[in-house]
């Protein structure tokens, strides 16, 4: 069960971190719409 949890964290981190980075970059650019 602990092994599964580690795999889940690694797998979701592997896709989640790059996606979060891309979303933050896009949000920073999108904020210019309201300036």
């Amino acid at each position: 069960m602990a092994g599964n949890s580690v795999k889940l964290v690694l797998a979701w981190g592997f896709v989640g971190i790059p996606l979060a980075w891309g979303v933050i970059e896009t949000c920073i650019n999108a904020a210019k719409l309201f300036h």
Partner: protein
Amino acid sequence: MAVSFLDKAHTIAPPGYSRWLIPPAALCVHLCIGQAYAFSVFNIPMTKLIGITTPAPGGSWDLSKLIAIPSAAGDWKLTELGWIFSLGIFFLGVSAALLGRWVEEGGPRRAMFTAALCWAGGFFLSAIGVYLHTLWLIYIGYGVIGGFGLGIGYISPVSTLIRWFPDRPGMATGMAIMGFGGGAFIASPLSVWLMRHFTTQTHVGVAETFIALGVIYFCFMMVGAAIVRVPPEGWAPAGYVAPTTSARLITNENVFVYDALKTPQFWLIWWVLCLNVTAGIGVLGQASAMSQEMFPGRVTAVAAAGFVGLMSLFNMGGRFFWASMSDYLGRKNTYFVFFALGTLLYALIPQTGAAGSVALFVLFYAIIFSMYGGGFSTVPAYLRDMFGTRYVGAIHGLLLTAWSMAGIFGPVIVNYMRQYNVTHGVAKAQAYNVTMYVMAVLLVIGFICNAFVRAVAARHHMQQERAGATGVLETTG
């Protein structure tokens, strides 16, 4: 050994395998192929490969541009480069339609591996094309081979996710298809950063960026291929009891992939997807120009770029939100919401321009683009409800031809209607009004198509006892 690693039989999950590992496996693929939406970041740099700072002059379209005579050909033009993306999307539809059954019967790992080879291979061949300044190599590389990677990759995890999440198929496929929308968010800044890194005063670093992206995407997609598993026969999530009889619009039966084409349901849903996408995709390509022209002096080019980014976020978020909601609302009702609310919002967009309300304009489009994304992500579960799980990935592949068709019609309608209005003296701020009303009418037609969707007739169902054994020719219809 290497081949057996790819076999469907070797991807059956061991006891205790968490089904929550499957969405990240699917995202590994969809986040990579979602790069297609960000290909435009290469357009301007690729017009300066020879001239470096400004495009080198050359003749218009001729044979010399297709073969490697850089000094004679001059730099490529944007119109020539636009075909790269168009070819990629066209071959996405073609490959998904042609290879859906192969993907379905060979399992997700073989499909993901093939998609990774095609996608990365397309980048490598395109890098050679850039290096040699040979345009047809890029058309074949990114457009054709990469397009096959797009199509195979797009449908590769769909049926696997539906089998792992029989209790929430909409949410499961929504997560994966959300990745396709999100891939551009990663690819765009990453590509810009890589090009900046590889560019010198005498060289534009597009070829090196293509190679780097090919390597990165291949590794990323192979992680997905390594993680993915199919559930054992008869597996069900804890506490889930499969219904023993079909609900009114959710079948327990299966329809063979090519028999689905004989049903009115397939073509009605084909039009549902096509019309929903047509309305969104045309505006998506013109979102920047439209926001600036409808609010002259108030929305700058920088703000318009922010508007496009914001719409992409809602496009991505809508893929997860609406597909998840469809598990509770039902697929048919979810599309009714898309079409009814979409019609109302498109009809109101001209009023936001007349009232000068940027906030309402942004709000209405945010909802519209969330439903545009939702249309893509809800359709696999709609197909599963209609045709069963066995060939849902392959049937989904056939349905993606609707996307290819919409990719042609949507931009043509928006661009040509705007141009017609401007040519006939309509002010730019009002040039989109008629287009918005046309989009609203398209959505009304989509509403009617959706209303006609009924359960598939029993004569199209595969015979259960034989379908499990061979799965191909044993249909009752």
